[in-house]
Symmetry: C2
Subunit: 203 residues, 2 copies
Amino acid sequence: MKLEFRRRGILFVVSAPSGAGKSTLLNALRPGADFVYSVSCTTRVPRPGEIDGEDYHFLSAEDFARKLAAAEFLESAEVHGNHYGTLRAVVSEQLAAGVDVLIDIDVQGARQIRGDARTDIRASIADIFIMPPSLDELRHRLVKRGTETPEQIEVRLTNAATEMEAWRDYRYTLVSGSVEEDLQKFRAIMRAERYLSRRMILA
Amino acid sequence: MKLEFRRRGILFVVSAPSGAGKSTLLNALRPGADFVYSVSCTTRVPRPGEIDGEDYHFLSAEDFARKLAAAEFLESAEVHGNHYGTLRAVVSEQLAAGVDVLIDIDVQGARQIRGDARTDIRASIADIFIMPPSLDELRHRLVKRGTETPEQIEVRLTNAATEMEAWRDYRYTLVSGSVEEDLQKFRAIMRAERYLSRRMILA
């Protein structure tokens, strides 16, 4: 008798108010054999250097609208007149193949993903909220980044305070510290999720 | 605004068929600031070198029986005429103080702990089953250990095969590899459990 466990893929859903350290963390994570990043569809015009199918799947407005009407998106949103969305079938196939998928998404998008009717998607979700250590620290990080005006920073802080209330909706809350700490915590969550009995299939 | 998260203690319940690598793993874990081992009560006579309150709480048969009748044990068992049990009040106080407690227990004991009516106990449980990679490997480890006769090894293997069926009842299943691998997996689980939003209390 030899026990062989296979397992379903995990859908890591990661959200954070801007400045909480999410981008730094996700850049440091480096996907590889371990997991893949979900690639969004968008109607936005490609920026110089962006690669179709890698940074985004660039779709025409008509194509996007057709897919939206056919309810093919796991989540979708309109930002500054551009549409963004994640194709359910792509994610579903990756999960069925045992591949872990990471989606970097705002709290509204996370809510759409959680609300999806497909049970294979819902059972695969491990959602993680990255919390800034404090609003003061968040302000400090935004000022240091230097990409926003003081007025824009105030708007971001107000939005962040609202977004931060969503932490309870996520299975995990990771209070951001140093990049190294955040990375270790995040990797621990990724590993532990892989040992959940309910994800395992006895071959 | 400063976010301060406190959290409830976690009750790590760890089971494994003998030879699965549990003792080696738990010895390597070394509790400290991180968590404490639960100390069982027993009516067994102390062995040379065993310290009361550290290895076990040594109780008289009368004292044990009184506590058992008063339902003070979270779990209890009789083995070779000796009684063993874990005091619910002790564990409960540790958890309330935010201390993580690790109980090394067989599948029957784990079942009793899960079935406990106290919701603070139930909400605190993170149960982990350590699975031998295969029965062949388990046999190999038992032979190598050299503490049992071939007949005793066969009995242990039969028991192990039955015990292994309990893996689905545990939140996590850790398929045992090298000590170092097991340690890393176990530590990842311990860390990740600490970031569960439902364990957190916003101060």
